[in-house]
Symmetry: C2
Subunit: 224 residues, 2 copies
DNA sequence: TCCCGTTTTGGAGCAGTGCTCCAAGCGGTG
DNA sequence: CACCGCTTGGAGCACTGCTCCAAAACGGGA
């Protein structure tokens, strides 16, 4: 409270004054450009033209910074979900928002599945729970259903991150890559995976993700 | 081939001769005792009373070592799944095997969701696919259904790892911890999470996980 | 038996990481 | 003007994965 007052009173120290927001912003840019491994304190100090001490004065540690960056990305991805009225459609919209966010910011998917108790996941879970309730899921089952949806979404978010780690920029190359490996598996031990390998290159992750959501939703309707 | 012959010919170099298996074995012990962060090259050299060079002569790098350790743990967890006849029950058994493995070896859950194209996950996916086929899921839908189950399982595996990272040893403390945080959330923004917080401490992860599997299976039967 | 090429070993050292600590600078207040 | 607290930048520490190399251990051929 008082902090805000004094801060407003005294003008900017400088045009490029350091602040938590500016640091998080820079972190997101670095992460988007070079992936998780690119975000180092040194890279931050270089981009912001400052020292490590200045950064640690605004941010507790690396983990908090990653959590804040993820929170920002998820929050902005979830803004237009609230306008969806139909509960079933709202759940799909929530899931897709997370998918798209972790698809274009894979590092966020990684952080999301790594530390799910942080604000970013809270928002997702709250949205899922709210719409499950609207869907008419009984009180007792809401937790279980929300957990199923949430874990599935987190799982896919982690996969998006994993794929980006394997091939940072080429989205389709990784599928061909994995397909090639699976095609050479022992036919006796892995007949199914060899068959799946043929479908891998031409399948679309996003629609398959949505099929999974619909599968769970279909299961939920059976317990209504 | 020839390698095996010569290897069999010459006896053990020493009683405590270094080998890839012995290294992986030691790695698993370190990981189980101290979690992911405890496995360092230095810790390995100390436990095996050797140097870094010797280890890197048998193992390419840290990641490969982690993958091998995860492969071992998952493989041994999946051994008794094959005996289950009923496809629906076999899928539940596969899922539970992974859950239990990543519950007692959280680091394996982390690695599993981080690099899912490795042997460990292949085994899981193959088992799921095989039993989905036996269940009568049509060819076209097998991939989608397997993906849904797999992603859900990987998601929960990641959660098990996250929980262990938060509270390495006390399984129930983490739930009370999170519940306490969620109980203090803004009632206007997070009404559902506050209500879930009351159910959190007394819920059982394992059975909830299985409810999720059953939910997906119920959804799958609707598309049969 | 000895010798010599191959495999295996252990550790010094490098480049990089997150983070702490401190001396200096700045700006507002008395 | 002098002071004091917030802010800044960087030197330095403890740690990481990993490379490189000299030496030891080994075992087949002479």
């Amino acid at each position: 409270m008082e902090l805000m007052v004094t801060r407003t009173k005294r003008g900017e120290r400088r045009a490029d004054a350091l602040s938590r927001e500016r640091i998080v912003e820079a972190a997101i840019e670095i992460l988007d450009a070079g992936g998780e491994s690119a975000l180092t304190i040194r890279a931050l100090t270089a981009r912001l033209a400052t020292g490590t001490g200045a950064i640690y004065h605004h941010v507790a540690n690396m983990n908090e910074l990653l959590a804040a960056a993820t929170g920002d990305v998820i929050a902005s991805a979830m803004t237009d979900v609230v306008s969806v009225a139909d509960p079933r459609e709202a759940i799909r919209a929530t899931a897709l928002a997370v998918f798209d966010a972790t698809d274009s910011h894979p590092w966020a998917g990684s952080q999301l599945s790594r530390e799910p108790w942080q604000p970013a996941f809270l928002q997702i879970a709250e949205s899922l729970g709210r719409h499950l309730q609207a869907l008419g899921v009984p009180q007792r089952a809401q937790f279980d259903c929300g957990s199923a949806l949430g874990n599935y979404i987190l799982g896919v978010a982690g996969q998006n991150a994993a794929r980006a780690r394997l091939h940072p920029h080429d989205r389709s190359a990784v599928l061909e890559d994995i397909a090639a490996r699976w095609a050479q598996l022992d036919p006796d031990k892995y007949p199914i995976m060899r068959q799946v390998a043929t479908q891998l290159p031409e399948h679309d992750d996003r629609t398959q993700f949505l099929v999974g959501i619909d599968l769970i939703l279909a299961g939920i309707t059976t317990v209504l």
